[in-house]
Amino acid sequence: MKRILDFTVVGKEDFGRASWLRLKADEPLPDMVPGQFAQVMVEDSPKTYLRRPISIHDVDETAREVSFLVQKVGEGTRRLAETPEGQRLNVVLPLGHGFSMEPVQGNVLLVGGGIGIAPLFLLAKRMRANGMSPQLLLGGKTASDLIRLKDYQALGETFVTTEDGSLGEKGFVTQHSVWKQQQFARLCVCGPKPMMKVVAALAQEKDIPCEVSLENLMACGLGACLCCVEDTVDGHLCVCKEGPVFNTRRLKW
């Protein structure tokens, strides 16, 4: 069930271009699926009229905590990323459809680019809890983009690329040597659209089921305004409601 909840920011770690926010809810949290997202209110500015859609990065039901990795893209996300500890945030969650969680025969690779690594944390955590052993392939422009890398590494074998070569293999995630060394049975991808399109093409070539998480511009987050549509084999579908996670076979890419 979707809820409107008040949270208190109980932890903030600033990584320069992004920050990691931990929020504690006043009430118990609803069930959340990896890949779902939240709509966060950024108050007191006419420039941030609408809520900001943010991926659910991690959940601790017992502590009633949700966390987000917020990249400072514009005014709203910058203000959000700089929210001081102790401040209240109003959040609507969980929204949309997440990644498939059914066990699969063979290796599962979670591919993240830039801030797109955010939802893969909860995904890897839940997959492990379900007895799966996901591998991760994370890419950034530079080493500092790979926020919480050690925590990701604790969740599964993790491969890294950076565009400047400061960490892992130099280049894009799609150029990593792991693609030549291993076979995969499923890909779960989140990152910039051009990167996801290349991974989707790779998946199609190798005939691997592939899910991608989209981030089209949206207003409501509930499937009402019909602004965030993506062109699919079933027509224009709302990323907020039918997605944000789509099997690439449904997309007209």
Binding site: A224, C225, C228, V229
Partner: protein, 304 residues
Amino acid sequence: MTIDLGRGLVLRNPVMTASGTFGYGEEYTDFVDLARLGGIIVKGTTLHPREGNPYPRMAETPSGMLNCVGLQNKGVPYFVETIYPRIKDFDTNVLLNLSGSTLEDYVKGAEMVDALEKIPAIELNVSCPNVKQGGMAFGVTTSGIAQVVSEVRKVYHKHLMVKLSPNVTNIAEIALAAESAGADSVSLINTLMGMAIDAERRRPKLSVVTGGLSGACVKPVALRMVWQVAKAVHIPVVGLGGISNATDAVEFMLAGASAIEIGTANFIDPAVSVKVVNGIEDYCQRHGFEHVASLTGSLKTDNC
């Protein structure tokens, strides 16, 4: 809190949700008890299915947003067969917002909706700014609006509300034309035509360049138009445009609205509609209004 808008459309309170901002109601049932609302107006529907405009369809603006959705919908027959059975038993008034690009489409659509027992009213959309051959062609002239309203009136026997465009020189004249042609009420305003540019990329932010502006920023314009129209017509006026809280809603009623619609604010607070219902009730108690209908047009302008 009851409001009688005429020809069988009776609201349990003056608060409805605006078309295109509340889906088919189903999208909001986690947040809102629909039985607390005066009504919901479902997504703009045309006789034939429409895929709408390409992405991107929205741009945030100071205290508002632009959209150019372009009436994406599955058509009246799909609504009748698939959506209506799911929503017909909601414990509130479910109004259908009907749009079209030809007179014939409006009339055929209205005939089909007339047969739906649980839809007590149509909100006739002659004011969508985002469709090239859209309803707005009818909604911006007195002759255009008179033509579409009188033709629909011939086949539609329940409450006919006509949603007016603010993108006109004299909205009161348009409202009068709708009234003369048989409208039971008018609702206003639809979105104001606007535009946003990404200077860095030197490109428009919307796929079709222009779009409809909504949200808190349009409220003063909407309020002024409601006031002008309410003075001109003798049918009920339904006010909308940037209403975000109960005080905004009361202001529209003071200006002459018999009921109000909440639009873009539903995106920001999905539970806002019920808060507005409660807030209007509080206002009436604080100011000694026994019936909410007494608020309508009670603006004091004696010293103006």
